[in-house]
């Protein structure tokens, strides 16, 4: 279905500081060969949405490098396609709520000039398989002003700070809270909104006129009575990444067959990413690999157990890698031992190093580190 999509790429930067020191949340590497934004973009493209604007504030070199012209997502188009909006200089980077709204205000002209009837606003901080056609269909069928995707369940730590809703039997949102309590059942907002483009324009004009600051509070919460706001429950796989702990947990979740099948099993719903033309992965004569998710371009001579290897990782002879995530082009030489380690891009670990973290606090090595 045709719609205009706007992706927020920086929203949760500060909660996962190590990984976003040199990149946006949207370009956090995930699952061997992906960046988080690949999931949003693929969901959109698979639903037939081909006009996508991406709002970026800071640290966006890695995101720009990843996206290129958008052709790997089939978004290099004459009409629509991919548009990237770096922030104008009058941003207030420190205030999250204000930035979501002011980010939208800064591209008001773009939103006005588009032709699509509906707008999808989405964060890019999770791996999920939301069917936007289904969301748009419900939006239309209910005659909703705004449709918000939520997740029902016991609130876990990752959704603690998210808005949550009270719904009536007809899925209409009748009340909302700005924060949820861990352990209690909630309908947590996934920060995915569908609304009419004209309505968004009107809301933005109102926000400018009245000096509003918060998207959630001023545009959603304060309009619950006056607008028809509906909730769309998303029940599928949702790997939310907003801390180092759940970054580790969610990557490891891919070793589970059910999760893997849910994310990648549907051959008609592929997850696209930047093509790197890596050669296939080579396993040496002494390689020993168990329960691992491995991208192309790796060269494995040692042992790899319960781990995620990104593209171009080298595992030397006698090296044992357990419970670890090695990002793109990590090189481990001979007789290295790693347990609960996350290495960022281009990390080199020389021979006979022995590094270990633990499940709750994996040992993290920053980009381009050499040990």
């Amino acid at each position: 279905m045709k719609a205009l999509a706007i992706i927020f790429s920086n929203i949760h930067n500060e909660t996962i500081d190590e990984l976003t020191r040199k990149r946006t949340t949207a370009s956090i590497p995930f699952g061997g060969r992906y960046r988080l934004i690949d999931f949003s973009l693929s969901n959109l493209v698979n639903a037939g949405v081909d006009n996508v604007g991406i709002l970026v504030q800071k640290n966006y070199q890695s995101l720009m490098d990843h996206l290129g012209s958008g052709k790997d997502w089939d978004l290099s188009r004459k009409n629509g396609g991919l548009v990237i909006f770096p922030h104008p200089n009058n941003y207030r980077n420190d205030d999250l709520y204000a930035s979501r709204l002011s980010a939208l205000i800064s591209i008001k002209g773009f939103i006005e000039s588009q032709m699509e009837e509906n707008v999808i606003l989405t964060d890019s901080d999770s791996a999920n398989l939301i069917d936007f056609n289904d969301v748009l269909a419900m939006h239309k069928q209910k005659g909703a002003d705004i449709t918000i995707v939520y997740r029902h369940g016991i609130c876990e730590k990752d959704l603690e700070g998210h808005m949550n809703f009270v719904l009536d039997d007809n899925q209409r949102i009748i009340d909302a809270h700005l924060k949820a309590k861990v352990g209690s059942p909630t309908n947590a907002c996934l920060n995915i909104f569908v609304l009419q483009r004209r309505l968004l324009q009107g809301l933005l004009e109102e926000a400018i006129a009245q000096g509003m600051e918060s998207f959630h509070r001023d545009l959603i919460f304060n309009n619950i009575k006056s607008l028809k706001i509906y909730g769309y429950e998303y029940q599928g796989v949702y790997l939310h990444i907003n801390s180092m702990e759940n970054y580790f947990k969610d990557n490891m979740a891919l070793l589970n067959e059910e999760v893997r099948n849910a994310l990648f099993g549907d051959k008609n719903h592929r997850i696209y990413t930047k093509v790197r033309d890596s050669a296939p992965t080579r396993y040496g004569a002494l390689a020993k690999v168990e329960n691992s998710f491995i991208a192309d371009g790796c060269d494995i001579e040692g042992t790899v157990i319960n781990s995620i290897l990104f593209r171009g990782v080298k595992v030397g002879r006698g090296t044992v890698i357990k419970n670890s995530i090695l990002m793109q082009d990590t090189i481990t030489l001979d007789n290295v031992k790693l347990n609960y380690v996350i290495t960022d891009k281009n990390v080199t670990i020389r021979s006979r190093n022995n590094l270990a973290g633990c499940e709750k606090i994996p040992f993290y090595l920053g980009k381009n580190t050499m040990i």
């Binding site: 070793l255 592929r270 033309d277 296939p280 329960n291 998710f293 491995i294």
Partner: protein, 402 residues
């Protein structure tokens, strides 16, 4: 001037490749899978791009659909250009009638106007069925330096094998004195690699003359090159050192795949400055399960390995189920190897289903031949396929367990 090309490439991809039997039943030889994630033509196309040749005409004839779709607009090889890029050139209907490509020379003859369109000074003629990495620019430089009318890339082969190739006899300056197609008593060991650079005018002249000769077989090796030599044109040999393999037979295709693995692989595809490009679709990384065992193998995206893989090449989205053993084999994309099946010394094409407990091929040894299973074939449970077999149709279990 941007719109005039110094050198464009014409890639011959129309051959049937009948010596690959079941593998080329439904697809042209250049589109046959290779090295887990590639197709044979990727190597030639990547060579072109890596050598800064940005205009390539691909001459197709036999079963071109998969090849056409694969090449598409050339984007994976960076050959989607405003002026130039990759173009598929099938035979077409003309006012004077329509005819199939009668030979390699005739295929190019029928597309002279395509070449004319770019007005190049030189034309590079390539085959789409060789595995190698070569900088055509260095060959072009040599061609320009010697001011040759035609430069032919040659490879030193062992003298005892020389009688299988077209052999060039050259002088000290690499000028070709004589050309012999598959000589019984070869005088040199410089074999033609089927890679030619012609001055455009000379190429046009000889192709037009060749077309008028009713006795000609319209072939570069058999007609054009001997004719040019006879006329005393300046023909130079360009010696190439490096890996090169014609993958025209089952045996050589298997060997070339095996050359990618081992302690010191004979053929290196990991050079970041000479990438081999291929059409990638969004496939997730490979998953190696706790029950898997892998040794000396090449595995690519989407594969799910639960069994044992030894000395093998595993294509994308291949599943090797529990207890299955794949040894000394090449498995193309999307094939499923059932539980406890044993595959030895075989080539299994795309989209094949091998049933549980099936046995394909025999352990590799002298006298044992490679077993081949063609695309889209289903092999039933407990079925045994002998070595040297060429399976093109489904094989059902006849109810007897061996």
């Amino acid at each position: 001037m941007y719109s005039q090309k110094k050198c464009i490439a014409m890639l011959l991809a129309g051959g049937q490749g009948s010596r690959l039997f079941a593998l080329t039943n439904k697809i042209a030889k250049p589109a046959v899978s290779f090295g887990a994630k590639y197709r044979i033509i990727d190597f030639t196309l990547s060579n072109c791009v890596n050598s800064n040749i940005d205009t390539v005409g691909v001459l197709t004839q036999y079963q071109p659909l998969i090849l056409n779709e694969y090449i598409g607009n050339g984007q994976p090889w960076d050959l989607d250009r405003t002026f130039g890029g990759v173009h598929i050139l099938p035979p077409y209907q003309a006012k004077t009638g329509s005819q199939w490509y009668k030979g390699t020379a005739n295929a190019i003859y029928q597309n002279l106007s395509f070449i004319e369109n770019y007005n190049p000074e030189h034309v590079l003629v390539l085959s789409g069925d060789h595995i190698y990495k070569m900088d055509y620019n260095m060959m072009l430089n040599e061609h320009l330096k010697t001011n040759a009318d035609c430069t032919i890339a040659v490879l030193e082969v062992p003298l005892e094998e020389a009688s299988r190739f077209g052999i060039m006899n050259t002088d000290a300056n690499n000028r070709i004195l004589e050309f012999e197609e598959k000589p019984a008593n070869p005088k040199s060991n410089l074999a033609s690699m089927g890679i030619y650079i012609f001055k455009k005018e000379k190429l046009f002249k000889y192709l037009i003359e060749d077309d008028k000769d009713p006795t000609s077989q319209n072939d570069f090796g058999k007609n054009i090159i001997p004719k040019m030599l006879k006329d005393g044109q300046k023909m130079q040999a360009y010696p190439f050192r490096g890996y090169w393999k014609d993958v025209g037979t089952i045996q050589s295709l298997w060997e070339a795949n095996q050359d990618l693995i081992g302690e010191e692989p004979a053929f290196d595809i990991y050079n970041p400055f000479w990438k081999i490009y291929s059409r990638n679709i969004g496939i997730e990384p490979q998953y190696i399960s706790p029950s898997a065992s892998l040794s000396n193998s090449l595995v690519t995206d989407g594969a799910k390995i639960e069994g044992t893989v030894i000395n093998s090449i595993i294509g994308s989205s291949v599943e090797v189920k529990k207890g299955a053993i794949v040894k000394d084999s090449v498995i193309f994309a999307n094939t499923i190897i059932g539980e406890n099946a044993v595959i030895e010394y075989s080539i299994i094409d795309e989209n094949v289903k091998i049933g549980a407990f099936a046995k394909i091929g025999k352990p590799k040894a002298d006298q044992v031949k490679i077993a081949v299973v063609g695309r889209n074939v289903t092999i039933g449970d407990h079925v045994t396929i002998l070595d040297g077999a060429n399976i093109e149709e489904d094989v059902k279990n006849e109810g007897k367990e061996e």
